[in-house]
């Protein structure tokens, strides 16, 4: 989107990073409607520069989001290495809840922002799907989770719970436990 084969010039890369950092601050501070010109100002850059790197608000939101997703994917690896399947899965899902709690109203905006940017959306899906897929398979191999559940489905459910319990975050764990109860393998058969 910004890199047509060639390498970016040093100042360009610098500005890009500054912009993402400023945007992250501004979005968490003023919500997803933070003024873009103000973000440019914070980054010590003209509006033109901002719009060259990120043609619209969505792509900027997407750039910020990518960093977060990467961190979550790494956490999945670490958890898988350090804990037994069920606990690793539970903890990672808990991380998702915590992340959404921290970002408050941002998650909803991110969803609709990403809907407009197919490439970033695909990337996020693939990355998260990979991270969760690994955790889920291990849990399914031990017979803890119904084998017909797809990673994408579980992912959507966690996000659903996270968004739904924004007004009352304390409820999130209980709602998630309901969902997980529904996904557990039945002993009976």
């Amino acid at each position: 989107m910004d890199n047509p084969g060639r390498q970016m010039r040093a100042d360009a890369r610098r500005n890009r990073e500054r912009l993402v950092a400023a945007a992250r601050e501004a979005f968490t501070e003023h919500g997803p409607d933070a003024a873009l010109d103000e973000i440019a100002r914070r980054a010590g850059v003209g509006p033109g520069t901002l719009y060259r790197h990120f043609p619209n608000r969505e792509s900027l939101l997407g750039a910020v989001y990518r960093g977060d997703i990467e961190a979550l994917a790494e956490a999945a690896e670490e958890l898988a290495a350090a804990h037994p399947p069920e606990e690793a899965l539970g903890r990672w899902l808990g991380l998702q809840l915590e992340y959404a709690r921290q970002k408050r109203g941002l998650t909803a905006a991110l969803k609709s922002a990403l809907a407009a940017d197919g490439e970033t959306l695909d990337w996020c899906r693939t990355t998260l799907r990979g991270a969760l897929g690994m955790l889920l398979e291990r849990a399914q191999a031990e017979g803890l989770i119904r084998p017909d559940v797809e990673p994408t489905e579980l992912l959507r459910l966690v996000h659903a719970v996270a968004v739904a319990s924004e007004p009352e975050p304390g409820q999130a764990e209980r709602l998630l436990s309901f969902v997980l109860d529904g996904l557990r393998s039945r002993d009976g058969r």
Copy 2:
């Protein structure tokens, strides 16, 4: 908010209704960011009039939403009268999914809009909680649903599923069935 004891003048009521109607159209057509001045124009009214009735976008969104909620609450009564508990509950939850599907990206905007308007939020909560509460109690009385599930919790879960499955609406029913499996009374104990 608009009715301090006295009756509204006839032209005021007329304009108010026109505005809500125009807003409903505009929101479903252009999403929740539809231009307010344009809505006023559609309603054949000046911007000033719009802003007197609805001081901000949220309250207008809320007014549109109220009508929908009322319809859903009525549907609950009808379903309860016409079907056995489990089917009535299932159908009503299905209606929620369908509603969200129809409104697409609007639901997320409505959520955050309502967060800013305590009164309307309370009203919606109470109304929906009442409608679902009745259906849920009947299902619980027959031992179909875990007795410790609160209406508010189930409501949030349905909304969660609805929002989460927006990008792929066909999945909604399957996700909802996962959730309901988790809420069913266990035969074993």
